[in-house]
């Protein structure tokens, strides 16, 4: 509920996530559960008996034989008869039909109502969720049977009414579960990535979120099938379920209750049938749950295998003819990296302010007055620690700010067009075509339930209007472009079958699918091993040169900046404190914070006895001082620093920049 404003690392994968891909494994685990196998066999037998009732049952369910009324077990009637002389065995078998029909139908009704409701509440969030959840609570508080009574009282008796009544009782549970799963999945980076790739909400919900529900739905479904049979029996027992003519276990029990004193055996056959069926469904549900949520023992082995496989060496494979064709800009020589070119910026942020609306009603700034340009073919580093607002800034540029956080003011210009005021639909188009993004955790960026090929082809078909065949062809080219071996075969694989570095290459390929002008890499290599990181960074540099893309490299790693960026913007507590060409910024930092960061960086190519540190910590959003945000930790602080807001003057936000230039530079190279 609270407006979370921290930008954390992506949450680790939940056990639900790779379900679809591990169905085969779940099945293998299932086979090693004798109780579940027994339950499954029992249910299959019951289903077969129900289906083949006319063949199996010795008599028709309503065939009366008054001469044998209320007989106990005899040779002719092995389970006896009822007061009209109807054969109990036959009625038990025919009742299985009723039970399974009603149970299946009602669970289907419950899912059809509950799942969309849960998806809506979970995905929309906010007021929908608050009102809806309270509604669910109220509905849940009503006793189930009471709901059944009311529906039957209003609509009358009958099979269909019974199905609807029981469905209504159970739909709340499905809604609740769906909402919970949706809530957790919605926040995952891969759902965000799907939105970044420009998919409409409908597709995000049904293709990204819904598959995660498959497991829990199957489990719940199995358990509720059992419960539905209980409710059906209870209602029929009370004479509220089906008519007399329709054989049902509950109805048989009701009849048996009337003759409890003189013919106690009558209650046994339907009673046992109910117990066995319900028990089997519950055991099956439990077993499925265990099998689906089981640990994946092959993870370790896969990691070992991918480590053993030699990483693809060499940077980029030659682009295929089609790639070159589709990128007329490709192969253009890159101008000298250090010069700031006069051509219009690929991406320009003008005085962007991002604010969070706290539940208390106050508005807290997270990013303040950021002005930034990225030219075509340029790699801009956005360097900052956590809490600096660098990721929020990227999300603002992408139009992906989380709930409770919004663009306070300013504009986001993409090739001169302001996209900050765009509608959701226009933004999707922009994100799909002009802006690409790669997040930190490659595995979390990709949907675990779809093949890589499908995730690559989807934006191609949505934004470039390609046919299925064209999209697949292009998807293979993209994988080839980012250096994935044997792309055609790997299109059919799931993300978990890729190592971290390879998965990040796939994420980059997806980001490149719409041929974006600007690629935003948000800590894109932070989770990778150094050798893999250097390969992915070299890949990005190579793509920049070949596609003349602008790259915004958001990172906390000074080494990444040093190796890849043309220009750097250093962020601290929501503000840009210094921008500059990478070499001059590393050689002669002008802001005390930049200098302190450079000094604190433990690098493999540098030997210092003791790392200089920056005392204290980054002030939290909402606790920023009125003057210089770094004043509290700055060794050069003077009273004038805290007097009032410090403007960015000549690319540095420090009132003493000119007078302390030498000392600041010395801090960095201490």
């Amino acid at each position: 509920m609270s407006a979370a404003v921290t930008v954390g690392r992506p949450a680790s994968a939940s056990p639900l996530r790779r379900q679809a891909a591990s169905l085969a494994q779940a099945w293998r685990r299932l086979r090693h559960q004798p109780a579940t196998v027994a339950a499954l066999v029992a249910l299959v037998l019951i289903a077969v008996a129900a289906a083949a009732a006319p063949l199996l049952a010795p008599f028709a369910p309503d065939e009366t034989d008054f001469t044998a009324a209320l007989s106990g077990p005899t040779a002719e009637h092995p389970l006896g008869t009822d007061d009209l002389g109807r054969d109990t065995l036959s009625r038990v078998i025919y009742s299985a039909r009723t039970a399974l029909l009603v149970a299946g139908g009602s669970v289907l009704v419950a899912m059809l109502i509950g799942v969309p409701l849960g998806l809506l509440l979970g995905y929309k969030g906010g007021w929908y969720d608050r009102l809806g959840s309270r509604g669910l609570d109220v509905a849940d508080a009503l006793p189930g049977l009471l709901v059944g009574f009311v529906v039957i009282a209003v609509l009358g008796r009958g099979m269909l009414v019974l199905i609807v009544a029981i469905g209504l009782i159970f739909c709340m549970n499905f809604a609740r579960m769906t909402r919970a799963v949706t809530l957790t999945e919605r926040k995952k980076p891969y759902v965000e990535a799907a939105r970044v790739s420009g998919l409409p909400h409908r597709q995000v919900v049904f293709r990204q979120v819904l598959p995660n529900l498959a497991g829990p739905l199957v489990v719940q479904g199995a358990v509720f099938l059992g419960s539905a049979i209980k409710v059906e029996s209870a209602l029929s027992f009370l004479g509220l379920g089906l008519d007399e003519s329709q054989p049902s276990w509950g109805g048989m029990l009701g009849l048996a209750a009337e003759h409890q004193a003189d013919h106690p055996f009558m209650a046994l056959p339907p009673g046992i049938a109910i117990v066995v069926t319900v028990l089997a469904f519950n055991v099956l549900g439990d077993g499925l749950n265990d099998a689906l949520s089981g640990r994946r023992p092959t993870r370790r082995r896969r990691a070992a295998r991918s480590a053993a496989r030699p990483q693809r060496a060499g940077g980029i494979p030659p682009a295929s003819a089609a790639v070159a064709e589709q990128h007329p800009r490709a192969e253009r020589p890159v101008a000298a990296a250090q010069t700031v070119r006069p051509e219009p910026a690929a991406l320009e942020l003008r005085d962007v302010t991002v604010v969070a609306d706290r539940p208390t009603g106050e508005t807290v700034p997270l990013v303040a007055d950021v002005a930034l340009t990225v030219a075509r073919g340029e790699v801009l580093g956005l360097l900052g620690e956590s809490g600096s607002g660098k990721s929020m800034l990227a999300k603002a540029a992408l139009g992906l700010l989380p709930a409770g956080v919004r663009l306070g003011s300013g504009s986001v210009l993409l090739h001169g067009r302001d996209i900050a005021g765009c509608s959701d639909r226009e933004l999707r188009e922009v994100r799909g075509r002009s802006l690409g993004v790669v997040f930190q955790n490659p595995q979390a960026n990709l949907s675990p339930v779809h093949t890589v090929g499908r995730q690559l082809a989807e934006p191609l078909r949505a934004h470039l209007g390609m046919s299925r065949v064209q999209a697949r062809e292009r998807a293979a080219e993209l994988l080839d472009l980012v250096g994935v071996d044997d792309p055609r075969r790997r299109l059919g694989q799931y993300p978990y079958q890729f190592s971290g570095g390879m998965a990040q290459r796939v994420a980059i390929a997806i980001a490149l699918a719409g041929e974006p002008d600007v690629l935003i890499a948000d800590e894109a290599t932070s989770a990778l091993d150094v050798t893999t990181q250097s390969q992915v960074l070299d890949l990005l540099l190579d793509l920049r040169e070949r596609l003349d893309m602008a790259v915004v490299m958001i990172t906390h790693d000074l080494g990444v900046v040093a190796e890849t960026c043309d220009r750097v913007a250093v962020m601290y507590a929501g503000q840009i404190v210094e921008t500059g060409a990478v070499r001059s910024l590393f050689d002669r930092p002008r802001h005390p914070y930049t200098a302190a960061l450079l000094a604190a960086h433990p690098s493999a190519d540098r030997d210092v006895d003791r790392l200089p540190t920056i005392p204290g910590r980054v002030p939290l959003a909402g606790e920023w001082p009125p003057g210089c945000h770094f004043a509290g930790r700055c060794p050069f602080v003077r009273p004038e620093c805290t007097a009032g807001p410090v403007p960015l003057t000549d690319h540095v936000r420090c009132v003493r920049a000119a007078e302390i230039a030498l000392e600041v530079s010395e801090v960095a190279h201490a």
């Binding site: 082995r301 620690e385 990181q533 250097s534 040093a562 190796e563 920056i614």
Partner: protein, 283 residues
């Protein structure tokens, strides 16, 4: 080096992981560590570097008795851990502590952080809640936190502060060896250098030894006395920090060093060209 004085002596350590298989005869295993050996002297920091899957964390887990050892021996202060049997004596648990990568995950979100420290004290027989709280407060101050932080919940603290709590929890028992598994990897630069210095200061004060496991060569360089380089479960090179960084002998060590980003942009075009050439040659 001097085995007679070693605090920790790992010899020919081999660890197999079980890959499952329901029955004993169908069980398959994979070797994640093979013949790893090194020693750590009292007051020394031994850095263990390698990429994911190299077995560096497994080594730490074996020392912490969190991973089953298949072969070889681990001796702590002269005692072979194998003689402990299944139960790890409390004294070993007191002497050997750990700090892990994700401080938020290693603290219960529902408990006040001070409780992580007082619970450890209680487990190790420190009587009296008042006494325990006092010692927790001392430990907090030792790692640069304030007394007021004891009553905070993990969600209310920054990553650096949480890592300080984790360090306080590890050090409050006055251990002789702390296994730091990627202990500063999740931290911001300014916080990271604070924690690295804190670990160094605490070592100077208490004489504790560190087994410092990390993938970041820069961090390892700054904290370690000696370094071992692990690759696919095998220790490919070992030497003093100076030797490893100035005269690496194994090609893998050289590749690792070539891949780590430099501290300044100067010469990066040459570095990139060299990387591409090395990869092309390997292809």
């Amino acid at each position: 080096m001097n085995t007679t004085q070693a605090l920790l002596e790992v010899r020919d350590l081999t660890v197999d992981y079980d890959l499952g298989g329901a029955a004993a005869w169908r069980r398959r295993t994979t070797t994640v560590l093979q013949g790893v050996g090194f020693t750590i002297a009292p007051g020394e920091t031994y850095g263990l570097v390698g990429e994911s899957g190299s077995g560096k964390s497994t080594t730490g887990r074996a020392v912490l008795r969190l991973a089953d050892v298949t072969g070889g021996s681990i001796r702590f202060d002269g005692t072979d851990l194998a003689t402990f049997g299944r139960e790890t004596p409390l004294s070993y648990r007191r002497d050997v502590q750990a700090v892990f990568q994700d401080p938020a995950a290693s603290l219960n979100p529902r408990h006040r952080v001070g409780r992580a420290v007082t619970d450890a004290l209680r487990r190790h027989g420190v009587r009296g809640q008042r006494v325990r709280e006092e010692r927790a407060a001392e430990a907090f101050e030792q790692v640069g936190l304030q007394r007021a932080h004891l009553d905070r919940y993990p969600a209310e603290m920054s990553g650096g502060q949480l890592q300080r709590v984790a360090i306080a929890r590890a050090l409050v028992l006055r251990p002789r060896l702390v296994v730091c598994d990627e202990a500063v990897s999740a931290l911001d630069l300014s916080t990271q250098s604070q924690i690295i210095n804190l670990l160094a200061d605490l070592q100077a004060q208490t004489g504790v030894s560190y087994l410092f496991i990390a993938h970041d060569l820069g961090v390892v360089r700054h904290i370690s006395d000696r370094i071992g380089v692990l690759r696919r479960g095998v220790l490919v090179e070992e030497g003093t920090t100076h030797e490893i960084f100035t005269a690496p002998r194994h090609p893998y060590t050289r590749a690792l060093l070539a891949a780590s980003p430099a501290s300044q942009p100067a010469g990066r075009e040459e570095r990139r060209a060299r990387r591409l050439a090395v990869r092309a040659a390997a292809a």
